[in-house]
């Protein structure tokens, strides 16, 4: 069967010589995507990286400091001739080091870390804003009632620990213990969910 003129013909099978009309230019491979400047690297990645760092530290001042440290450390050795994938791999490797040093300095323990595969996927394709609250609501719903209630009051309704204690009719000290236990329980659930 003769292929239609508009159809794309397949690449030659291994061992089969490439068919080329005399005089037609040889196809040239396209350069992988590259950033034209350090500013393009920064502008394309700053929000992506900030979101990852915020998800690792949970507060704005630390997320800002760490994001700044990553760019300040990474932009020197990076070359603009590197592909976008290589630039992001390097940014993430730097982020892993910066985050580990942050936790070591602050708590002498690693609280969270960069997952090179999972976080790389987020860096390439940031998840929708609406995904995380749904997952959180599911985690809270899976907790025993009182655990779920105190986390709901604290994290979804922005109550202070004193207000949460009052709402649950328990002492302040008990509210802190309950919150601690609820978070440990939630941690186990988070670890079990993708």
């Amino acid at each position: 069967m003769t292929p239609d003129a508009g159809c794309r013909q397949g690449t030659p099978a291994p061992g089969e010589p490439e068919r080329r009309e005399p005089g037609t230019p040889r196809l040239r491979s396209v350069e992988p995507d590259r950033y034209p400047s350090w500013e393009a690297i920064y502008l394309d990645n700053v929000e992506r990286l900030y979101r990852i760092m915020y998800s690792k530290v949970g507060n704005r001042p630390d997320a800002e400091d760490l994001t700044a440290q990553i760019f300040q450390a990474a932009l020197g050795p990076l070359r603009t001739s590197a592909s976008i994938g290589e630039v992001r791999a390097y940014l993430l490797a730097t982020a892993r080091t910066v985050l580990a040093a942050h936790w070591r300095r602050r708590y002498a323990a690693e609280i969270t870390s960069i997952d090179v595969l999972g976080d790389r996927a987020q860096l390439d394709d940031p998840p929708s804003e609406s995904d995380a609250p749904r997952r959180t609501a599911a985690i809270i719903a899976a907790l025993p009632d009182r655990y779920g209630r105190i986390l709901e009051l604290r994290f979804l309704e922005s109550c202070s620990i004193r207000e949460a204690a009052h709402a649950m009719n328990i002492s302040l000290a008990n509210a802190k213990v309950l919150q601690h236990r609820a978070l440990r329980h939630a941690a186990a659930l988070f670890e079990g969910t993708p």
Binding site: E39, Y42, L43, V46, E47, Y50, R51, Y54, S55, K56, G58, N59, P61, D62, E64, A68, F71, Q72, A73, L75, G76, P77, L78, R79, T80, A82, S83, E86, A89, Y90, A93, T94, R96, T97, A100, R106, Y107, A109, I111, T112, V116, E129, S130, A132, P133, T136, L151, F155, L156, S158, I161, K176, V177, Q179, H180, L183, R184, A187, A188, F190
Partner: protein
Amino acid sequence: MTIRRVSAFIDALLHNRRPPKFSPDADDIAAMRAAIELRAAQPGATIPNSEFVADLHRRLAEQQRAGTGNLEDLTHRRVSRRGLLQGATAAAAAAAAGVLVGRELVSNGSTAPSAMGGHLVPDHGTWQAVTTRAELANSHVVPFTTSSTVGFVVEDGRRLAALSGVCTHLGCVLRHNPTTNRLDCPCHRASFSLRGDVVRHEFAGPLAPLPHLSVRERDGTVEVYAPASD
């Protein structure tokens, strides 16, 4: 009492403040991790402040202008291997240093590769266990990662060798291809022999061979001499 400290940590997160320092135990760490996850899941929490983005942009531009991180200078600057390894050790711990080592050793297309390949000797290195003789006896090629270096240990007959596992083109991490018994670059299809020689590449200019690291065996444990992590 760490429950009080963890509560203060959570208060800080909920008010977007920097949390206080303390010494958490394993239960505290689990609770802190969950608190971070819950906080980050709040709608809009992870969107950066536009003033921060603009201010960091300005600070980086000043850094670039001051030459402390000038991309063009760095692209064309040659760095000695000893200086490089010393700098990498001090500047970038853990995996980032491994990437840095790889990146600074890559050819830039304007220089012959004669200064590359060869033997890497860090100024401040330590012997670091990377595999065992028993594992090598099974597979003959074992990839390793230390806090500063990625590479392969190769057993060729009774001789041990350790090679950098970073492509000398753009610093991609190489993979051992058991079919061809070569080290392949997943980025641009360069390939190296288990001795570090370039077998194939598609670049216009020459490509440097892989550098070797010092390697030894002690009581069945294989160690490489690599930059210390901190």
